[in-house]
């Protein structure tokens, strides 16, 4: 007991000395680049020039509340270090698995955090509607950063009723199909460039391997009380391809109804894969088994060679067992879920947003920092295992370590193509996190018809 106490003291003293030293370095007129910067911890860079505009924030504390818990929280905490060292502010990080409900409880109780990472724009809208006096509009610095480094659409997701509240933080790409490069090579399969090629490949896999019980697709939509969300992503990807970005964006606001023929056509295309007993559910079972398979397990049959393809977002990279080589020549990798033609490459994605609930200078400065390229690069360096990417155009792709993150970033930064933000995250909560999930689950589990499902979701939109 005593020895641990002592060790804590030593660590505390050591870190405060380091802090004091680095502060001194920041204060000097000619900040010297510390030797060997960019190696070691990687995040603690001595160059504070970019942080001067934030001013001296010594002794100030900013609290951050997020849904990101261990082990993914450490890279976030590490990414604040340059800010803390250069401005003197300290950031208090708190992650909770019950974030979505607890944030609203805390706001109701008047116990708001300074900064919160909101994972869905729909939730942001709810919060602005219910707690207009608690949430603070984005600081001027934040707004300037977002204008400079993000596509205009990203600013739109953080805007409610014409007021800009929350800046984008991380991003993910959902239009990916995971596959095994070696299995494809062994069978002489090529990565499909169009949707038709994808279906042709699926049929070829059925013809080649159907008799052995191996199927082209595997999927799982189980996710506890959020069961069904992977199926909504499927529909979103197909609406984006089949009907285009304009219809997609109108669908989000319900200008285009759920039971519109264009949405029904897209759902029909999803059904042609997910409800086709010849195509699914490789290595797991029949169509219905999709509903009871946890989404984390949905793609694993690829590793056993029982299934060829699994459509899931970039963050699925974290679900492969330890030691799996995720790269173009490795055990598994992902290809872009093809568009209708080789030239149309719309991307479906998502992300989280930074909202402030306090009007203090240090909070404004920290919110601005999180939207800056300095932060994006610090975060990339602080995430040695990969699995993180941002839509910030100031992010240097060289700082991203994993091949899948690089691929995600190249898709996100290709401004010539349409980007569709996860529709269910933008819809009102009772649809986007309610009937849309549950009805898509019934669609698979209870074999509800396309029309029944779309009518039921539309009926819940009030």
């Amino acid at each position: 007991m005593k020895s641990t106490m002592k060790r804590h003291h030593v660590v505390a003293i050591a870190s405060s000395v380091t802090l004091a030293l680095s502060l001194a370095a920041c204060g000097s007129d000619t900040p010297e680049k510390p030797e060997g910067s960019g190696t070691g911890t990687g995040t603690a860079s001595g160059d504070c020039a970019a942080y001067e505009s934030y001013g001296d924030l010594s002794g100030k504390t900013v609290t951050v509340y997020t849904s990101i818990v261990a082990p993914e929280d450490q890279p976030h905490i590490d990414s604040y270090k340059p800010f803390e060292e250069c401005t003197g502010a300290s950031i208090k990080y708190e992650g909770s698995k019950e974030f979505e409900t607890q944030l609203q409880v805390r706001l109701k109780a008047g116990n708001a955090p300074d900064i919160a990472y909101i994972p869905q724009p729909g939730l942001l809208k709810t919060i602005v509607g219910q707690f207009p006096d608690s949430i603070v509009e984005a600081s001027a610095g934040t707004s300037a950063n977002v204008d400079k480094y993000y596509a205009a659409s990203w600013k739109g997701y953080g805007t409610v009723d014409g007021k800009f509240y929350a800046a984008p933080l991380g991003a993910n790409v959902k239009s990916f199909v995971w596959y095994s490069p070696s299995m494809f090579a062994d069978n002489g399969y090529e990565i499909p460039k169009t949707y038709d090629e994808l279906i042709a490949l699926s049929d070829k896999i059925v013809a080649d391997h159907g008799a052995e019980g191996i199927k082209p697709w595997c999927a799982g939509i189980g996710s506890g009380e959020a069961t069904g969300w992977p199926a909504t992503d499927w529909l979103e990807d197909l609406v984006l391809r089949e009907a285009g970005i304009d219809v997609y964006n109108k669908w989000i606001t319900n200008e285009v109804k759920f039971n519109d023929p264009q949405i029904a056509a897209a759902l029909g295309k999803v059904g042609a894969i997910l409800k086709n007993d010849k195509y699914v559910n490789g290595g797991i079972g029949d169509v219905k088994s999709i509903a009871t398979t946890e989404f984390q397990d949905g793609g694993l049959p690829i590793l056993d060679g029982n299934c060829f393809m699994h459509r899931q977002a970039s963050f699925y990279a974290a679900n492969w067992p330890e030691g799996t080589d995720v790269s173009e020549e490795g055990d598994v990798f992902a290809f872009y879920f093809p568009g209708m033609t080789a030239d149309s490459r719309p991307v479906l994605g998502g992300g989280e947003f930074v909202a402030a609930f306090a009007d203090r200078p240090e909070v404004a400065a920290f919110q601005a920092y999180l939207s800056s390229p300095e932060w994006a690069n610090a975060k990339a360096k602080a995430t040695p295992a990969g699995g993180w990417v941002s839509a910030n155009s100031g992010l240097d792709p060289e700082n991203l370590v994993s091949p899948i993150d690089k691929l995600s970033f190249s898709l996100l930064s290709d401004t010539s193509q349409d980007f569709g933000f996860d529709a269910s995250d933008l819809m009102p909560g009772n649809v986007g996190a309610g009937s849309f999930w549950t009805e898509m689950t019934s669609w698979i589990a209870e074999n509800k018809s396309d029309t029944q499902v779309l009518d039921a979701i539309q009926a819940s939109w009030k």
């Binding site: 008799a211 019980g213 009380e225 069961t227 290595g283 797991i284 909560g429 309610g434």
Partner: protein, 335 residues
């Protein structure tokens, strides 16, 4: 003394807890001490002294939230605009909610009856046998497991892995669910126990029955032991056999205990939430009121509808409580 307002570490939180408990003991002690010191106090001082703290606690912890819930059930999702009985109309007319109400009804009918029957038969069968203590312990053990724990255990029992046609045996997914492995041993197809309705509701209820029969068995066994030996003997002399003894002597004698067991289990069944949330999350047509009310209130931020469901649940429970209290009074009078 910053930790009094904002306890951060575990140590501080524990300290804060002890301070709060000490404070409570102190306040209660002072009140009781003062009341005790007044010689020949007027009745209202006594009533206030002893019942006051409890009443204040009830008023803040139970009555006030109940009233705000009832109020919220007549307002929209944000609690801003008055919508009349709209939330109740939704709850009773929409297909998905009708199914939830129907499931709740099935739970409240089947679980208490089956648990009580199993508990009663078991109690009679092991009564005065050599293995009685051991057999009762076995039956009672599930009571010690939390609902979530039991649900996870049974989720593994029901776990489904398909036998995939055409796939080589060594590449088949491994069966990890006991029940499906038994089916395979018997030469049958594995089943999706938690998916295929309406039977999946029954498989969820089995978890609750598994837990509650132990409770029924304990109470009923005590009641059976209280039946006077001479009554039994007299019945035997009159020529009653095992079955006749059971229906004409045992059941009428333990009737008050039966009613208490039935109503108590019915009340806990109405509130069932953990099992459904853990095992299916209310999907596949297995939703019940308590789960749906949580989903509406906290997940979808639809406080109006959530509150309406809570009020409906409350209305369902009230007659059971009234009946239970009434029965307990009656059996006390008989004594």
């Amino acid at each position: 003394m910053e930790w009094l307002k904002q306890a951060d570490t575990t140590g501080e939180k524990f300290l804060l807890m002890f301070v709060a408990i000490a404070l409570f003991v102190l306040v209660m002690g002072v009140i009781l001490f003062v009341v005790d010191r007044i010689s020949r106090p007027p009745k209202w001082v006594l009533v206030l002294g002893f019942m006051g703290p409890a009443l204040i606690g009830l008023a803040f912890g139970l009555v006030y939230p109940a009233l705000t819930t009832v109020k919220a059930s007549f307002y929209d999702a944000n609690g801003e605009t008055f919508v009349g009985a709209d939330n109740y109309v939704t709850a009773f007319t929409e297909d998905s909610f009708q199914q939830v109400l129907g499931n709740t009804l099935a739970w409240t009918l089947l679980v208490p009856i089956l648990s009580t029957v199993i508990g009663l038969v078991y109690a009679v069968l092991v009564d005065r046998t050599r293995v009685e203590k051991f057999a009762k312990t076995l039956m009672f053990m599930p009571m010690a497991i939390s609902m979530v724990g039991a649900s996870i255990i049974w989720k593994f029992m029901y776990e489904y892995k398909a036998v995939i046609e055409g796939l080589a045996p060594e590449r088949q997914p491994a069966q990890i669910g006991l029940l499906n492995q038994v089916l395979i041993w018997l030469g049958l197809e594995p089943q999706q126990f938690l998916l295929n309705g309406p039977w999946n509701n029954l498989f969820l209820m089995i978890v609750m029955i598994w837990i509650q029969s132990g409770f029924a068995m304990t109470i009923l066994s005590a009641a059976i032991k209280a039946i006077p030996d001479d009554t039994m003997e007299a019945a035997r002399l009159d020529g009653a056999g095992g079955m006749r003894l059971f229906t004409s002597i045992t059941i009428p004698s333990v009737r008050p205990a039966l009613v208490v067991v039935l109503t108590t289990i019915a009340m806990s069944t109405l509130k069932v939430f953990d099992i459904v949330r853990t095992m299916t999350g209310g999907n596949f047509g297995t939703g019940v009121i308590a789960n749906e009310f949580y989903t509406q209130s906290f997940k979808q931020a639809n406080y109006g509808l959530g509150s309406a469901l809570a009020v409906i649940l409350f209305i369902f429970v009230v007659p059971l409580i009234v009946y239970n209290v009434f029965q307990m009074r009656k059996s006390e009078e008989m004594r």
